[in-house]
C-alpha cells in the first residue's frame, strides 16, 4: 500500500509537469528551458533559495496546524484566520512591549500570537465538541470575522497613521534575524522546524497525542477507555490554532516587520492543501510544503526570464492537487492491467 501510494504521488507529479510542458510548448517556448528557469528560480543563489525558504515556513506551519486538528477529526479550515490574529497580536506586542530585551521580547510576541490563535480556534472546536456544529462551515465563516477584526484594528486603534493601513514598525528587539540576505528568509525557519519536531513528538510519542489520535480514530472507543473526547478535541484545535498563530507571528516578525491589512493571499489555504496531499501524515507534511514553496518561488524566476506567466505554475499546482486527490486514478489502472495479465 505504501509503495503504491508513492507511485501514485510520483505519477501525479509527472502528469502535471507534462501537462505544464505541453502548455509551454504550445505557447512557443521551450519546456526544458522553462523548467530549468523554474529550478534556478527556486534554488540557485542565496536570494532565490531564501525565497523558497521564506515561503516554506508559513506553508509548513499552516500545514501542520491543519494536520494536527485532523488528528482529532476536526477539519480546521480556519487556519487563515488564526494566522491573521496571530500576526496582529505579534505586531501589537512587538510595538507595545518596546524596551524589553530581545531574549524576552521575541518569545513574548510568539507566545501571545499562539495564545490568540489557539483561543480563536477553541471556539469552533468547542462548538463541534459540545453541539456537533459542522466545523468546516464555522471555520470558513470565522476566517472572515478574524480578518475583519484585524482590518479594524490595523485601520483604527493600531494604525501607524499612514495612507496604507498598517501598524507601526516592530522595534528591533522583536525582529527575527535574516539568515540569507538579501532574501527575507529568517530564523523563523528554525522555529518552524522546532515546531515540526515538537508536533511530531506530541502527536506520535506523547500520552496527549495518543489520546488525540484515539479520539480522532474512534471517539466512542476513546470515551469508553476513559479519555474525555470533548476536551481532547478542543485541545487539539487549540494546538492547531497555536501553530496558525505562530505562522502569522513569524510572517510579521521575520518578513514584513509590521502588520499589513490583508497581507496573506491565502497562505493557510496553500498549507491546508499541502497537508491534504500528505494525507495529514506529519512526516510527509514538510516535504510537500517544501515542494509547493519551491514551485511558488521558482515561478517568479521563470516569469522573469522566459516571460511565461507564473499563473501557469499555480495552475500546475492546482492540477497536481486535483489529480493527487483522486485516490484511485492510477491505482485502478494498474489493477485492471494486473487482472488482464
Amino acid at each position: 500500500m505504501r509503495r503504491s501510494a508513492v507511485f501514485n504521488t510520483v505519477a501525479t507529479i509527472a502528469v502535471s509537469l507534462l501537462f505544464g510542458a505541453a502548455v509551454v510548448a504550445f505557447m512557443g517556448h521551450s519546456p526544458l528551458e522553462a523548467y530549468r528557469e523554474l529550478l534556478k528560480g527556486a534554488f540557485w543563489g542565496r536570494f532565490n533559495f531564501g525565497g523558497t525558504l521564506e515561503r516554506f515556513v508559513p506553508l509548513l506551519l499552516t500545514a501542520l496546524a491543519f494536520a494536527v486538528s485532523s488528528k482529532v477529526a476536526v477539519f480546521n479550515v480556519g487556519v487563515e484566520g488564526e494566522l491573521y490574529l496571530g500576526a496582529i497580536a505579534a505586531a501589537w506586542v512587538g510595538v507595545a512591549a518596546a524596551g524589553l530585551p530581545m531574549v524576552f521580547h521575541i518569545p513574548l510576541c510568539l507566545v501571545v500570537a499562539m495564545i490568540a490563535g489557539s483561543l480563536w480556534a477553541a471556539i469552533p472546536g468547542a462548538l463541534k465538541a459540545c453541539w456537533r456544529v459542522n466545523e468546516v462551515c464555522v471555520t470558513i465563516l470565522a476566517n472572515y470575522v478574524a480578518i475583519y477584526i484585524t482590518s479594524y484594528l490595523v485601520g483604527y486603534p493600531l494604525s501607524a497613521g499612514t495612507g496604507v493601513p498598517q501598524t507601526k514598525a516592530l522595534t528591533a528587539t522583536a525582529r527575527l534575524a535574516r539568515i540569507l540576505p538579501p532574501s527575507r528568509a529568517n530564523v523563523g525557519l528554525f522555529i518552524a522546524l522546532a515546531a515540526l519536531l515538537f508536533t511530531w513528538w506530541l502527536v506520535h510519542r506523547s500520552t496527549w497525542g495518543y489520546r488525540m489520535r484515539a479520539v480522532g480514530d474512534n471517539p466512542g472507543y476513546a470515551e469508553h477507555v476513559g479519555i474525555r473526547a470533548r476536551s481532547t478535541m478542543i485541545w487539539g484545535m487549540m494546538i492547531s490554532g497555536a501553530l496558525g498563530g505562530l505562522a502569522g507571528a513569524i510572517e510579521v516578525m521575520g518578513i514584513y516587520g509590521y502588520f499589513l491589512d490583508n497581507f496573506s493571499p491565502g497562505i493557510a489555504f496553500d498549507g491546508m492543501l499541502a497537508a491534504l496531499i500528505a494525507r495529514n501524515d506529519i512526516r510527509l507534511v514538510p516535504l510537500l510544503a517544501f515542494f509547493l514553496a519551491a514551485l511558488k518561488a521558482g515561478a517568479l524566476g521563470m516569469e522573469r526570464f522566459t516571460g511565461i506567466p507564473k499563473s501557469l505554475v499555480d495552475a500546475i499546482i492546482a492540477m497536481f492537487i486535483l489529480l493527487a486527490a483522486m485516490e484511485g486514478l492510477f491505482l485502478l489502472r494498474r489493477r485492471a492491467k494486473g487482472k488482464e495479465a
Binding site: C137, V138, V145, L273, L276, A318, L322, A325, M326
Partner: protein, 310 residues
C-alpha cells in the same frame, strides 16, 4: 450624525441590497443544489470566476450577451463535470477538489487574461455587451419609484424567480424528493431504486449551469468588466448563506439579503470614514450563531429524549 445616517439608510438601499445580494444568491443556489445531495460544493468560487471570464471574453469578441451567457454556462458545466468525475468516480474528497478548482480557476483566468485579452489586473472595453437592463418607463417621473423598481439587470429579478422555482422543485416534485433522499440517506435511496451515483452526477451538472450563470451575471450584469479574482469570496459567502438557510432556497435567500444589506451599508459607512468592519462581520457572526443555536437545541432535545427512554 443623523445627517450621516440618513445618507446611509435611505430608500436607495433597497436597490443596492438587491444588487449586492444577487451574485451571492446565484452562488447559494449553486451550493443548495449539490448540498441537497450531500455534496458541499466549495468550488462555486472557481466556477463563477471561470464563468465570468468566459462571459466577458465571448461578449467582447462576439458582441452578443446571449452567446456569452451560453459560453459561461458551458464552462461552468464542464468544470462541475470534472469535479463530479473526480469526486464520484475517483473518490476524491469533495473539499479538496473544490479548493483545487478554486486555485485552478484563479490561475487559469489570470493566465488567459494575459494571453487572450493581453492585459493583467482587469479588462474593460466598450465592446463588452452587458446583460440587458429592465427599464420601466412609467417610473421615470418619480425618483423613489425608479430607484425601487426600475433599471434592474435582467438576472436580478430572475434570481428571485429561481429561488421560488428551486424551492418548488426541491419540495414539491418527485425529482426533488428523490434528490433529497439521496442526500439524507443514500443507502435507503439506493434500496428504493434511486440511482444515487447518477442523481449526484446530474445535480452536479445542474449546479455547474447555475454557477456559470452566476459568473456571467457577475461580469456582465453586476459589473461590465473582468478583474483577477473578481469573485472575491462571493462563492464562499454563497456557501455561508446556504448554511444560514440550512439548504432551503427561501431561507438561504434571506441570508443572501442580509449579506447584500450589510455589504451596501458597509461600503456607505466606509465612504463616510466610519469603520465598516463590524457591520461587514454581521452576516458571518449571525450564520455561526444560527448554526450553533440550531444544533444546540437539537442536541438538547436528543439528550432529553434519551433520558426519557431510560
Amino acid at each position: 450624525m443623523f445627517d450621516d445616517l440618513s445618507l446611509v439608510f435611505n430608500y436607495t438601499l433597497v436597490h443596492a441590497t438587491l444588487r449586492a445580494s444577487t451574485p451571492i444568491l446565484y452562488a447559494t443556489l449553486t451550493c443548495i443544489l449539490t448540498q441537497q445531495a450531500d455534496i458541499l460544493n466549495i468550488g462555486v468560487e472557481g466556477i463563477m470566476l471561470c464563468g465570468a471570464f468566459m462571459a466577458v471574453t465571448v461578449s467582447y469578441f462576439s458582441g452578443s450577451w446571449l452567446l456569452a451567457l451560453a459560453a459561461a454556462v458551458l464552462v461552468g458545466t464542464a468544470i462541475s463535470a470534472v469535479m463530479a468525475v473526480a469526486h464520484l468516480r475517483y473518490k476524491a474528497d469533495i473539499f479538496v477538489v473544490g479548493m483545487a478548482i478554486n486555485m485552478l480557476a484563479l490561475a487559469v483566468t489570470r493566465f488567459l487574461l494575459q494571453k487572450v485579452l493581453g492585459t493583467s489586473g482587469s479588462f474593460y472595453d466598450k465592446a463588452i455587451v452587458p446583460l440587458p437592463r429592465i427599464h420601466l418607463a412609467f417610473t421615470d417621473g418619480n425618483e423613489i419609484l425608479r430607484s425601487l423598481f426600475s433599471d434592474y439587470s435582467l438576472f436580478e429579478p430572475l434570481g428571485i424567480v429561481f429561488v421560488f422555482l428551486l424551492w418548488w422543485l426541491l419540495y414539491r416534485t418527485v425529482w426533488g424528493l428523490r434528490l433529497r433522499s439521496v442526500g439524507l440517506n443514500p443507502l435507503a435511496a439506493e434500496t428504493a431504486g434511486i440511482p444515487v451515483f447518477r442523481k449526484k452526477f446530474e445535480v452536479m451538472l445542474y449546479s455547474g449551469v447555475v454557477g456559470g450563470m452566476a459568473g456571467a451575471y457577475l461580469s456582465l450584469g453586476y459589473s461590465r468588466l473582468f478583474a483577477e479574482n473578481m469573485t472575491n469570496g462571493r462563492g464562499f459567502m454563497g456557501v455561508a448563506a446556504m448554511f444560514f438557510g440550512g439548504g432551503d432556497p427561501i431561507r438561504s435567500w434571506i441570508g443572501c439579503l442580509i449579506f447584500g444589506f450589510t455589504d451596501s451599508v458597509g461600503s456607505r459607512l466606509q465612504s463616510l470614514g466610519l469603520p465598516p468592519q463590524f457591520i461587514l462581520m454581521i452576516p458571518y457572526v449571525a450564520t455561526i450563531a444560527v448554526l450553533a443555536l440550531a444544533l444546540a437545541r437539537k442536541t438538547a432535545n436528543e439528550r432529553r429524549a434519551r433520558s426519557a427512554l431510560k
